[in-house]
Point group: C2
C-alpha cells in the first residue's frame, strides 16, 4: 500500500498537469492532487516540488493576499513548463505501456 516510491519522477508531471488546468497555490494543489487520486500525498512533497519546478524555470509565481487566512503563493505554468509536461507525458506513456505489458494489465482486465 506504500505508493511513496511510485510518486518519484511522477509528482513533477502531476503538478504541472494540475497547473496546466489552472493556476493554483500549494495548499490548493495538494487538495486537487488528492481528489485526483493521490490521496496519501504529503504537503511537504508538493511544496518541495513547486519550489523545484520554479527553480528550474517551469513556473511563474505571484503572491495573492487572502481575505480568509495567510497570503497565497500562486504558481502558473509557462511555455517551458508546458514543453516539459509534454515531454514527461510522452515518457510516462512509454514507461506505463511497458509496465502494463509486463504486468499483463491488458490480458487480465477483461472485467
Amino acid at each position: 500500500m506504500d505508493s511513496t516510491q511510485l510518486l518519484k519522477g511522477v509528482l513533477d508531471s502531476a503538478v504541472l498537469a494540475v497547473l496546466e488546468d489552472e493556476d493554483g497555490y500549494g495548499y490548493d494543489i495538494v487538495r486537487r492532487l488528492r481528489v485526483a487520486g493521490f490521496e496519501d500525498i504529503g504537503d511537504a512533497s508538493v511544496y518541495g516540488t513547486l519550489r523545484r519546478l520554479y527553480a528550474n524555470g517551469f513556473l511563474t509565481s505571484y503572491v495573492v493576499p487572502s481575505e480568509s487566512g495567510p497570503h497565497r503563493k500562486y504558481y502558473g505554468i509557462n511555455a517551458s513548463g508546458r514543453a516539459q509536461l509534454k515531454e514527461s507525458t510522452a515518457t510516462w506513456r512509454t514507461f506505463a505501456g511497458a509496465m502494463d505489458r509486463l504486468l499483463g494489465t491488458r490480458r487480465g482486465e477483461r472485467v
Copy 2:
C-alpha cells in the same frame, strides 16, 4: 529522457513479473527487462533489487554452474512473491489510472 525516478517502486514489480514468467539469473533478467522496454536499466539496480526481494522472502535462489562462464545465481518467485506481485500490480493500476486521467492519456489516445 531520464526515467530513472520512474523506476522507483516499480522495479520490484517488474522483476517479480519477469520471474513469474520463468526463473532467471541476474544478468539474464537485465536483458529481459531491457527487451521489455526498460532499455536504460542498470545492472546494479537489478542485482540490488534481487537481493532485496530475496531478503524480503519473495524469492528462492539456487546456484547453477555454467559451461560457458561463471556460475549463475538463479532466482524463482515463491508464494509470498506472487502475493506481493498481485498486490503491487493492483497498486500500480490504481496509480497509473490516476496518472492517465491527470495527463489526459485517454482523451488523446482514441482507444
